[in-house]
């Protein structure tokens, strides 16, 4: 059970929990939170691929100069972009949730067809 195996297990578990939450939850804010967990897991997986044991951070300083033993800097550049995009989609998703509450007066996705089935777990907003 090396350190890299732990990083991969962590990222895979977060992706698993995120996909499970998107499929089985009914509250819109819970679905958006599950999308956020999924994106966090994917970013962790991308950075964990480029990590090697015993390397240094990819910044050339006075101490770490004239070496090639850096962590892979290319996945980190991609993850920088992915984090900002995740924030953008969360903002648009929350505005869609507010508009949904205005028209339907309920945050559940099952009230779309006028359904009157009441589940046991009704979540309160506060």
């Amino acid at each position: 059970m090396t350190l890299q195996h732990l990083f991969f297990i962590n990222a895979a578990a977060l992706i698993f929990i995120g996909v499970f939450g998107i499929i089985t939850r009914k509250n819109i804010i819970k679905i958006l939170l599950a999308i956020n967990i999924l994106e966090t897991g994917v970013n962790l997986l991308l950075v964990a691929i480029g990590w090697r044991a015993g390397s240094f951070a990819p910044i050339v300083t006075r101490v770490h100069s004239d070496i090639v033993n850096f962590v892979d800097p290319l996945p980190q550049a991609m993850v920088l972009t992915a984090i900002v995009i995740a924030f953008g989609t969360t903002a648009v998703g929350l505005v869609v949730a507010i508009n949904y509450f205005r028209t339907h007066n309920s945050l559940e996705t099952t009230s779309f067809s006028g359904g009157s089935v009441k589940y046991d777990e009704d979540e309160v907003v506060s």
Binding site: F7, L14, A48, W51, F56, A57, V95, N105, V124
Partner: protein
Amino acid sequence: MIYLVIVMTVIMIVGSIAILFQKTLRKAALISGIVSLMAAGFFVLMKAYDVAITEASIGAMLTTALYFFSIKRIEEIEKTGESETRDEGK
């Protein structure tokens, strides 16, 4: 070092499961902020300092703030009974 990683992993996984099964929405947004902070800690341990400061500032700060703003907005709409005043055609 490996014990720190094990503790952070357990916090993240238990926190993610707790987000999905919470009854109160504000608690779920708060735990999501904690999971984002643990992810930023992981990025520091993987020696990716650029990604860590970006995740800490955008994921932990701004996303949690947006969730709290929108929950407050939804509560105000619920209290006033009907939808807010809207100007058509402006």
